[in-house]
């Protein structure tokens, strides 16, 4: 394979390949870390000293061959217990694309870390054990991935070697996965069989799955739509991070990252709180003045009028304004060991603004097995997925998470411990 040589040529030619961020998720021991290890190994993304270290570590653990899960299970406790505890980020590239991979833990206890890895992903690679099929954790991860806005999912039905590569075992697992996931509304939901351990259908086809005619996982990942354009298509949202007050008479600038839509010099905008109208006088990019900024760009904005604007304010599309909210209906994933009770006071962090918040009501708890929302029986505990109502001490300027991720998302912080205790998505 001349992958490395091709990559070299494409990098040196300055070819821009685009990025795909994906998350590996699924239940405990279904083979997420092994799959990521296999992908890296077979695409020659592992260097010689890493390989030697991997061999030593595998040997020490009495493995027969190389234990590929050790490539991402980098913490001492993970290696001792043979499980993933926290998300690992890995980077690799083929001549066609760069990948940022998040390998996440399957244990329910570490759902917060799965959510961390999934929150920035464009695509989900869901592991399903061909013998066990879809279990509660598989469902929880599908629900979380969908809630977090991932639109493309690939189910990798793993451990096919343990079911004799039988097509009916694969089809049973796919049927279970589809009948559960169909109502969730992923844009694309695909499936493929394979073995992370043996390498079948990961980067190479292998010889045991002749009945499967689809592409390998790597081929599929190389062509999957990335979703990079989605944020640009939304309404303009520019949360102000800092105000620059240069000396010597230069105009005041508002520093931030354009989170959604386009920003154009001359355009009319509204500033929240207040909704005061003004125009964009200029946009300073990192490399100088520019006419336009696109979602994802960190820039400095100069406005036509002298308004009192500070960190936490939001410059937005005057024609498609955000919603001023003193109370919010939201889906919430609760992370903390401390149970959540109605009336709990927390700090909400939304874009660049923070506001004291109170979970005034836990409306429902989602049963991840049936997708039914049930009325809560007592306080919510860690890893619960909830529908809540929040009241805010000061207004936030929000969009529904479905429409604009950056202004639909918030985290909750416990002011006493400063821990991040929940993640919310505005309904």
């Amino acid at each position: 394979m001349s992958l490395a040589g091709d990559l070299e040529r494409s990098v040196l030619a300055g070819a821009e390949r685009g990025v795909l961020r994906f998350v590996a998720a699924g239940s405990v021991d279904d083979g997420k870390s092994t799959l990521i290890g296999r992908l890296l190994y077979d695409s020659r993304a592992i260097l010689e000293d890493q390989l030697a270290a991997l061999e030593r570590a595998s040997l020490r653990r009495g493995a027969a061959g190389i234990d590929l899960s050790l490539l991402t299970d980098g913490l001492e406790a993970e290696r001792e217990q043979g499980i993933t505890i926290d998300v690992a980020y890995r980077y690799f590239a083929t001549p066609r694309r760069k990948f940022i991979i998040a390998d996440t833990p399957g244990h329910e206890q570490y759902t917060r870390n799965m959510a961390t890895g999934a929150s920035t992903a464009d695509a989900l690679v869901l592991l399903v054990d061909a013998r066990k099929g879809v279990v509660t954790q598989t469902r929880r991860h599908l629900v979380l991935a969908q809630m977090l806005g991932i639109r493309r999912a690939i189910a990798f039905v793993n451990k096919m070697d343990l079911v004799g590569y039988a097509q009916d075992a694969y089809e049973r697992a796919v049927e279970e996965m589809r009948s559960f996931a169909a109502p969730l509304g992923f844009e694309t939901l695909e499936a493929m069989p394979g073995s992370a351990l043996r390498g079948d259908m990961v980067a190479a086809r292998g010889g045991s799955l002749g009945w499967f005619t689809g592409p390998t996982l790597l081929e599929r990942l190389e062509t999957l739509e990335s979703g990079a354009e989605e944020a640009a298509a939304g309404p303009m949202r520019f949360p102000v991070q800092l105000v620059s007050r240069p000396h010597g008479g230069a105009a005041r600038g508002y520093m931030g990252r354009l989170e959604s839509g386009f920003l154009l010099a001359g355009e009319e905008v509204a500033v929240y709180p207040g909704g005061r109208r003004t125009r964009i006088r200029g946009i300073r990019g990192v490399a100088g003045e520019r006419e336009i900024a696109v979602a994802g760009d960190s820039v400095t904005v100069v406005l036509a009028d002298d308004l009192d604007i500070g960190r936490g304010d939001l410059i937005a599309d005057a024609g498609a304004p955000p919603r001023e909210a003193r109370s919010l209906d939201a889906m919430l994933v609760w992370f903390d060991a401390e149970p959540l009770r109605p009336g709990t006071r927390l700090l909400a962090q939304h874009a660049s603004r923070r506001a004291p918040a109170c979970v005034s009501e836990i409306v429902a708890r989602l049963d991840v097995n049936t997708l039914q929302e049930r009325s809560p029986d007592g306080p919510a505990s860690a890893n619960d997925i909830l529908r809540v109502r929040l009241s805010l001490q000061a207004p936030l300027f929000v969009d529904s998470y479905r429409d604009v991720r950056a202004t639909g998302a918030f985290i909750l912080i416990d002011e006493a411990t400063n821990r991040t205790v929940g993640a919310g998505m505005v309904s």
Partner: protein, 310 residues
């Protein structure tokens, strides 16, 4: 006409992968400035911290970088790196704070077995002392997730308790780009704006931006000995051992740390573009090819990090 319709007519600048990484890093740096009371940027004169410094320059332009630079001097640094460090800080008009392992040794908080012992791990003590002394609530560093398997696990905003310790089993969830930098007095966060960069991207950025670096990052002739598969530079601190043959080779450093544990690699790359070309086809990782200290145990980086290392 809607903004999107107008936008479709304006020539849109192409955002490359490097632009995306740069934009993310600038967002992170501005969050530090927005959320923290008293941050410091760890600047050693090395390539990652030089990239970090350029990003900070760009993030706060036309203003100055709103925090001091902090360097922990192990006392075993390459003189040209220190000279470079001072020149860069002065050129930017930035405040440079230097704290040295030597002072910690005098205070008795660092105890080494011998003068020539690697001081790499001892840096953690001095760093934590500096953070406490100067009441920093955030320390911005140039560590990258692709460097090492424990680093691959770390958050962008990584919480340190009042003992400066990292608890990898209980990191704060970090969703989207909503970073939580809140700490109580005595605690701090480490912030890693270039978490998502690889060694190749660092060099591509250095080439693109024309970032100046100490000359030992580029090919030069240097006496070395071969030891355990590494090229150990011959210096007063690291003299050749009995029976070792000293060779003069064309080498460059991929990372620059404490002299006693950093090794160069063979190279003919005289500028950043040439280093990019070499980096695409490397066969060893940055640390594997160059660091003596990481090879002592499978978990040496994680243990050092838990104790306060960056």
């Amino acid at each position: 006409m809607s903004a999107a319709a107008i936008a479709s007519r304006v020539a849109r600048p192409v955002r490359t992968h490097l632009d995306w990484l740069e934009s993310e890093a600038i967002h992170i740096l501005r969050e530090v400035a927005g959320q923290c009371q008293n941050p410091a940027l760890l600047f050693s004169g090395g390539k990652d911290s030089s990239v970090l410094l350029r990003l900070a320059e760009k993030a706060f332009r036309p203003g100055r970088i709103p925090f001091p630079l902090l360097h922990i001097d192990t006392g075993h640094n390459f003189p040209e790196v220190l000279e470079f460090r001072d020149r860069r800080a002065e050129g930017l008009g930035a405040r440079l704070v230097v704290r040295s392992v030597e002072e910690s040794i005098r205070r008795g908080t660092v105890r080494l077995r011998s003068q020539s012992d690697s001081r790499n791990a001892a840096q953690s003590v001095t760093l934590l002392e500096a953070i406490a002394e100067l009441s920093f609530d955030a320390a911005i560093g140039g560590a990258r997730r692709d460097e090492e398997k424990a680093r691959a696990k770390e958050r962008v905003f990584s919480f340190r308790d009042e003992f400066g310790q990292w608890n990898p089993r209980d990191q704060r969830p970090e969703l989207w780009s909503l970073y939580n930098a809140r700490v109580r007095p005595g605690e701090h966060v480490r912030v890693f704006p270039i978490s998502n960069w690889t060694e190749l991207e660092v060099w591509q950025y250095i080439a693109r931006e024309g970032i100046e670096l100490p000359s030992l990052y580029f090919a030069h002739r240097r006496p070395v000995v071969r030891r355990h598969g590494l090229l150990v530079p011959v210096t007063p601190l690291t003299p050749p051992r009995a029976g070792e043959a000293v060779e003069e080779l064309s080498v460059r450093f991929r990372t620059v740390g404490d002299i006693s544990c950093t090794c160069p690699v063979e190279s003919t790359a005289g500028d950043a573009e040439a280093v990019v070309a070499e980096t695409v086809s490397v066969r060893l990782t940055e640390r594997g090819a160059t660091r003596m200290d990481d090879q002592t145990s499978e978990v040496s980086m994680e243990r050092r990090k838990r104790e306060g290392y960056f």
